[in-house]
Amino acid sequence: MPEQEPYEPERAIAGTGMGGTMDLGASEAVTLEQPPGPDGADPRDKPRSLWSDAWHDLRRNPVFIISALVILFLVVISIWPSLIASGSPLKCDLAKAQEGSQPGHPFGFNGQGCDVYTRTVYGARTSVAVGILATLGVAVLGSVLGGLAGFFGGGGDAVLSRITDIFFAIPVVLGGLVLLSVITSNTIWPVIGFIVLLGWPQISRIARGSVITAKQNDYVQAARALGASNSRLLLRHIAPNAVAPVIVVATIALGTYISLEATLSFLGVGLKPPSVSWGIDISSAAPYVRNAPHALLWPSGALAITVLAFIMLGDAVRDALDPKLR
């Protein structure tokens, strides 16, 4: 008795948000004029996910392109600094101390007679390594703890929330001075450890919030009604829908972690000479700023550009991922 409705060739898929709200910018207004052919040649026909939509936006965003190029350049020179700097950052000649720009030494020399150009190039490695590793640690620790707390709720969640409150109350620089001054190891690891220790509550809060939001969606209930296990709910349904804000905040935080490393090294509790770091160079150039401003300018400039690049990248990613702007 009930016949099957045929597939209409004009199976237009219209956005339904037109009624009261008019969100015509929504990505729903994709039209599938024809059923896909065997070759799927119709370009409009490609499945578009949030990520591919975001990528589509990012590719057209000049802010993203510029910041991504800067970051790419930084990553390359921190892996292979010798590509653009031939000398050693530790080869110093006191006789040339505070000298200005000269052939072969475009940025001049600092107070110890080391080549500022070479040191600035090599300093990128410390900054990028600290930034990326600390962010990875913070993101993993924060999103696991926050995600689990948000998903399961209850007592564990309450305890975790109080702990994050406590961590938020610790002044970062003071905490660094106290904690790091007792450590003698002159590697990047204590600094990274310190940043992870203080940084995870921020990500944990974001992750907890977005897991709670994602958890309430009907598709999570639907999967539960099918009999899905908790790990399946978390990994398949909640995590992919909750990860975007974590990525955005982590990208922006990466920039601030780089400047935090510089701050700690400047204060003498981060990396110490003979390590190479922009913070150390800024610190050592500060007393001679009247005679040799170039020695301060170049590492500070490099630091500022690097931090700015990561923050801009985070901004661009946020704009691309924010569904409200679509």
Binding site: R11, T16, V30, R48, S49, D218, Y219, G227, R236, P240
Partner: protein, 356 residues
């Protein structure tokens, strides 16, 4: 349609109270939201039971308890004689295969990060015994075909579909495990009028094809009448009147049902002059503070002293017990009386009171 054999689903004394607590460290219960407060009903194989009620009456909470998304505070849900409210682990999983749900909002009920194939096929990942691995894609495509979507759409994402198409995907997901019972919570209320009819027809067709029993929850009385064999009317966490569709719609005896029916706008401008409207006073009381006796008495024009003292039982009212007619059905009112509120023209045209 409904045979008099053992019901496939039997609900007895179902209660869901959400505790209200105060205090930060030492939480103490200061009250409860009585979302569902003693609900009984039965569902026969192949039958559709419609549950109607206004927002906050507890109908969605009942749906969630039926599919085990919420645990009842008290009461039993018997599936083929077995109480499923206390099950867990493997036993629960196998019951879940047989009771599936279709959700209201086609926009939030599909995971935006998964393709349609993955959404429907997930049922087979969770219950691998239902379909062998190599067979899954074919099964998913078959399901798409069954709900009237092009099987080649398996690799698309939900946002590429309209609301009505998404609801079809939701229905295909509900069907994947070949359940016996489908609980549909307002499945068409988010859809446009012209698309609503498509989805309702589809659900009717699937019921015959797969021998499904439906619990159909909605606030739209016309749609519920269209699809249901029997109807239960809920108010503040309880069923106040229940019976076959013609009994409820043409011979309602509970004042709430009568008010509800009289308030429904009928698409017939001729009817507006000679139709009696019962306009209820005030709002639904809060479920934290349910009136004593009959819970409808605060808005009822017939309320007397007895209504505040005595809780009316859901049974055939005394005055109709001796007669056998459409008015003799369960109605929780001390002063039940028949009243025709829906214009009578439909009586002859519909299928009347007999089973179709």
């Amino acid at each position: 349609m409904a045979e008099t054999t053992e019901p496939i689903l039997e609900v007895r004394g179902l209660v869901k109270h959400y505790p209200l607590t105060s205090g930060i460290l030492f939480k103490k219960q200061v009250g409860a939201v009585k979302a569902v407060d003693g609900v009984d009903f039965e569902l026969a194989r192949g039958e559709t039971l419609g549950i109607v009620g206004e927002s906050g009456c507890g109908k969605s909470t009942v749906a969630k308890m039926l599919v085990n998304l919420e645990r009842p505070t008290a009461g039993e849900i018997r599936y083929k004689g077995e109480d499923i409210t206390r099950l867990s682990g493997k036993a629960l999983k196998s019951v879940r295969r047989n009771i599936q749900m279709v959700f209201q909002d086609p926009y939030t009920s599909l995971n935006p990060r998964m393709t349609v194939g993955d959404i429907i096929g997930e049922a087979y990942d969770i219950h691998p015994e239902v379909a062998p691995k190599g067979d899954r894609r074919r099964r998913v495509q078959e399901l798409l075909d069954v709900v009237g979507l092009n099987p080649e759409y398996v690799n698309r994402y939900p946002h590429q579909f309209s609301g009505g198409q998404r609801q079809r995907i939701g229905i295909a997901r509900g069907l994947a495990l070949r359940p016996e019972i489908i609980v549909a919570d307002e499945p068409v209320s988010a859809l446009d009028v012209s698309v609503q009819a498509q989805v309702i027809n589809l659900m009717g067709r699937l019921q015959d094809e797969f021998d499904l029993s439906y619990i159909f929850i909605a606030h739209d009385l016309s749609i519920v009448r269209h699809i249901s064999d029997r109807v239960g009317v809920m108010y503040l966490g309880r069923i106040v009147e229940t019976g076959r569709d013609a009994e409820i719609y043409d011979h309602p005896t509970h004042p709430y049902t009568q008010a509800l029916l009289s308030a429904v706008p009928v698409p017939d401008p001729e009817a507006r002059e000679h139709r009696e409207r019962i306009i209820l006073a005030g709002d639904v009381p809060s479920p934290t503070n349910i009136p004593s006796g009959c819970r409808f008495r605060t808005r009822c024009w017939k309320a007397r002293e007895r209504c505040a003292l005595e809780v009316p039982a859901l049974a055939v009212p005394a005055e109709f017990r001796s007669v056998s007619g459409p008015a003799a059905h369960d109605s929780a009112c001390h002063f039940a009386e028949e009243k025709q509120v829906v214009p009578p023209e439909g009586e002859g045209e519909g299928e009347g009171s007999g089973p179709g």
